[in-house]
Amino acid sequence: MMLRRTLFVVLVHLACLMLIVWIIFPIYWMITVSLKTSKEVFNPDYLVTNPSLESYVIVLTQGYFRVMYFWRQLLNSVYVAALTVLFTLLVSIPAGYALSRLRFRGQTAVSTLTLGTYIFPYAFLSIPYFILMTMLNMLNTHISVIIAQTIFVSPYAIWLIWEYSRNIPIEIDESALIDGAGRVTIFFRMFLPLSLPAIAAVGAYAFLFSWNQYLYPFMLLSSETDLTLPVAMGFFLVSDEAPWNIFMATATIYSVPPIIFYYLFKRYLIAGLAAAAVKR
């Protein structure tokens, strides 16, 4: 019994150790290579012996042609993400309220449509969307990217708010109605403030979604000064030259905001997923 217990403890530790190495290594390697100088890049050592911030300085001062518009493109990413968050909130909060608190004809259709859109892999909508944007003369505009992202984020956002508001007692609405408040007043005065945690989760989710998007901005934007940073980073891969330390520094910088966001909003993101998982 003692032996089996020891064996079990050893196995768990071994499995965890292997998993941790596997999980961490690509991130560790990204940071390690970013701390090398251009001369050391081609020397694959597991550890970086004398870390240098050279590549970060090059990226932040835009001192290499692939990162010539670094700040501009970073700002584009922030701008597109911020507006995606705003639009998503405008679309999803009222719809979430309608689905959870109101009874109306077509409600089932709306909720099925929301879930269906959430599940649908949006890559297959890209070419039709591209054609529409061509017809509307909206190529090379940030708004075209923002609209597309809003559509793909909203279903999960609606669902999160809908799900969360189940925990807000319906009696609050009922007593407000008895006191003569209208539905719209209830929405602004009670539903909004009480749903703040869900709204924060939706905002974080929309931000992360937009921050990570590649396909739509890649397809819709072409001017170098309009690109979001992931699209610009995609072009690193077709580069003949390979200053991988600079590429990795860019990648590391771009990964920092989502990691911070994730740790800040972890509780909310997990709560949404947990609700989803336990429900089934």
């Binding site: 709306v110 054609i131 929405f187 089934r280």
Partner: protein
Amino acid sequence: MSYKQTNFLGLAFSLPFLIIFAAFVVYPLLYSALVVSSGDYLSRVMSDPLFWRSLTNTLIYVALAVNIKMFLALVLSGLLTFTQFRIVKVMSYLYLLPWAVPIIAGVLSYRWMLQKEWGIVNKFLSDIGLQPVNWLGSYEGAMAALVSFHVWKWTPLWTLTFYAARQGIDPSLYEAAKIDGASMLKEFLYITWPQLKYLYIFNTMLSTIWVIGEFDIPYLLTRGDPGETTHLLSTLGFRYAFVLLRIREGLSLYLLVIPVLLIFIILLLRLFGGRR
């Protein structure tokens, strides 16, 4: 009182979503269907050997990536419940990182790790006495890289759902099993699995739908290379449209996949919609 019909308000509040959905999804889809049906683009796609190759690749990729990932997520979520070990505590802080790191950043790191001459993976292989592998320069190597990146990136998300579901299992069941002297395998088979199996099937179906449509990972990691052999349907359609500039063929390839996906989605909602 709360069941009073509020038809007008309900629709009004849902309207912003319905409008953008109709204008930017339904309308372009109908228009595209019209465009495609006006020519024999579909038969041109079907006669391209690369289409059949990409279809096979997609099936291989989905089968491997989804199943390996889901199994690993189930195991990892189980490991995370042994919280009395410090290493598990460490892992519980770290395991969501791949999920938080943007795909493009992860891919950049992977590409350099897998580089044939200077990559750390081949250095490690030669350090332990194995032959280096031409990862991204061979069909098998590139497909393996795709699957392994997908598993690395997406296991955390599914682990989270299993972990959350495990928290919902009544702990007294395990206590009773302990008193009866049940082995861990028995605990899993008779307590854990029956409570997790619907979630496991649901996750597998949902993930299958998503991975059929995955674009970023295959496009950024291999872009069809070497020699256009590793295309998936999503990247092939994109190549038709934006590299070969035959946008209608790309369109018809995508429109060919959409009905199949819709069948899967309806099946999924039918099977699990009632469980909500």
